[in-house]
Amino acid sequence: MPTNQNCQGASANCVVGGTRSIVRAVSKLTSLRDAIARFVPDGASVCLGTGLEAVIPFAAGHEIIRQGKRDLTLIGPISDMLFDQLIGAGCCRKVVAAWVGNVIAGLGHNYRRAAERGVPHPIEVEDHSNFTLALGLLAGSLGAPYIPTRSLLGTGILESNRSLKLATDPWSGEPVVLVPAIVPDVSIVHVQRSDAEGNCHLWGTLGVSREAALAARAVIVIAEEIRPREQILADPNLVLVPSLKVAAVVHEPWGALPSPCQGFYGRDHDFFMRYHEESRSVEGFRAWLDKWVLGVPDWKGFLDLLGTETLERLRVREHRPSEPLDYGAG
């Protein structure tokens, strides 16, 4: 790829194959601290947890808490523990989600305290289902104002979430629900591998990751591995989102723990169970936060606390590589 290599290291307009296109071949590699500081301002709408129970960007979430971000709107289909932590830490003003809690343990104690009693402060809740949340992001990714669906007719969700509108299909005359586009200021996606520009590969559970990345104004990619550009572009079908949407690339191995990452590590169920118990009271949650988030300088500190024994227990040992593809063109 001589043309691309000519552009390496510079943000420039390049001629590729005779067609003028913009190639931003500049490294966006940065520390997690800088990525959060720059691209998650107070008051931002942030989409995260797009892989449902897998590849949840906990490393990024903990950094958001450490930096004391405020008034965030959290967007995600389900949130397995991460939103509960951000709400309890006081980072969140509004939740746009289908489900917030702890998938194997039950209710989210901080979510309950905030929604029921305004502790640590009141939050606004915009209720969705997984489908309407996915459709909202899809509409955002399409640049469309809304998408109609037949889901949720007759439900309370249409009352408590006023952004969903009951309408009549102009062709059939039947009732439909209009789901408005959701356009996050930033989507944070955790992936297996990325190049320095943000061309990245995600496989395993996709959830709404592609729609979320395409819909967002900016994307922060958190990657288990940073690979050379040509290795990523060897399989362009697997690239999650064009790197032109990516604002920052962060190399953070184990960055989705205690959620799983296909091919890299499994889920630490015990961690979710322990959090559920320890976050029952405000004091318990503060102690949890002091230990696991505020008491460590960075994600490395979290992993040190977790211990090498746990990491070794969770590390994938039985690998199942797929068949390589042939992109031969000549």
Binding site: L52, H128, S160, G204, L206, V208
Partner: protein
């Protein structure tokens, strides 16, 4: 052979799965029910998961969540949430499983708010995919523990629509899916009357009776003419359930 009420719920749920059907599986007990049905009477059933997975065989080890790596490895398809929901909205999904915090006599489920949603007494986690399955699947099966305060005359908030206020409510509001076909609890199995769409007790589990189920039902319980005991769990069924949940995390 003695067994827990949760084991019997799994077994009763598995019996609702038809061979060759497309089943929206989800989490917890339904995951075990799908595994059991596949290994007994429904070897050709397909399982859908809202994280984007379609499986023709249960994962070799029962995952704690649908996104655990063993549930993706060996899948028939691993795609987006949107694509799975697309199959649901097209009307291709035969049956889905849903749980809830509260249910009412028409099978409406609340997993969102106890009390007024503007000032909730309890904030529950929310719909997840439940509202979508209830809206769009050809039929759905409710699985939940039976306690009087959770079996209410009317739920405070409809997250997953059952039969609304009965009769042809679903058609009137425009819902395409067929609604709930069974409610499986720790005490018995309810089915919905073909005309009124109200839940009728169809069977009571071993050790229970119509009266003991009535005592834990928060509305004036109707009973099917042919009500009787739920068929006992068989040795073979229990062995499979226990092999899928060896530590008893979900069923003990």
């Amino acid at each position: 052979m003695t067994y827990t009420d949760r084991e019997l719920m799994v077994i009763a749920a598995a019996r609702e799965i038809g061979d060759g059907e497309l089943i929206f599986v989800g989490m917890r007990l339904p995951l075990l029910a799908f595994a059991l049905a596949k290994r007994t009477h429904a070897p050709r059933a397909l399982g859908l998961f809202e994280n984007g997975v379609v499986r023709e065989s249960p994962a070799p080890e029962t995952p704690f969540t649908m996104s655990d790596p063993p549930n993706i490895a060996g899948a028939l398809w691993s795609t987006t949430t949107g694509n799975i929901m697309a199959l649901l909205q097209q009307g291709l999904v035969d049956m889905g499983f849903i749980g809830g915090a509260e249910v009412d006599r028409y099978g409406n489920l609340n997993t969102s708010y106890i009390g007024d949603w503007r000032r909730p007494k309890v904030k529950l986690p929310g719909s997840g995919g439940g509202g979508d399955i209830a809206s769009l699947a050809k039929r759905f099966v409710i699985i939940m523990p039976q306690e009087k305060h959770r079996f209410r005359e009317r739920v405070d908030y409809i997250t997953s629509p059952g039969h609304g206020d009965g009769r042809d409510w679903r058609r009137k509001v425009g819902l395409r899916g067929g609604g709930p076909s069974a409610l499986i609890t720790t005490l018995g199995v309810f089915r919905f009357h073909p005309d009124t769409k109200e839940a009728h007790l169809a069977s009571f589990h071993p050790g229970q009776s119509v009266e003991s189920v009535r005592a834990q039902t928060g509305w004036d319980l109707k009973v099917a003419a042919d009500v009787g005991p739920t068929p006992e769990a068989t040795h073979a069924e229990l062995e499979i359930v226990r092999s899928c949940d060896p530590q008893g995390f979900w069923t003990r």
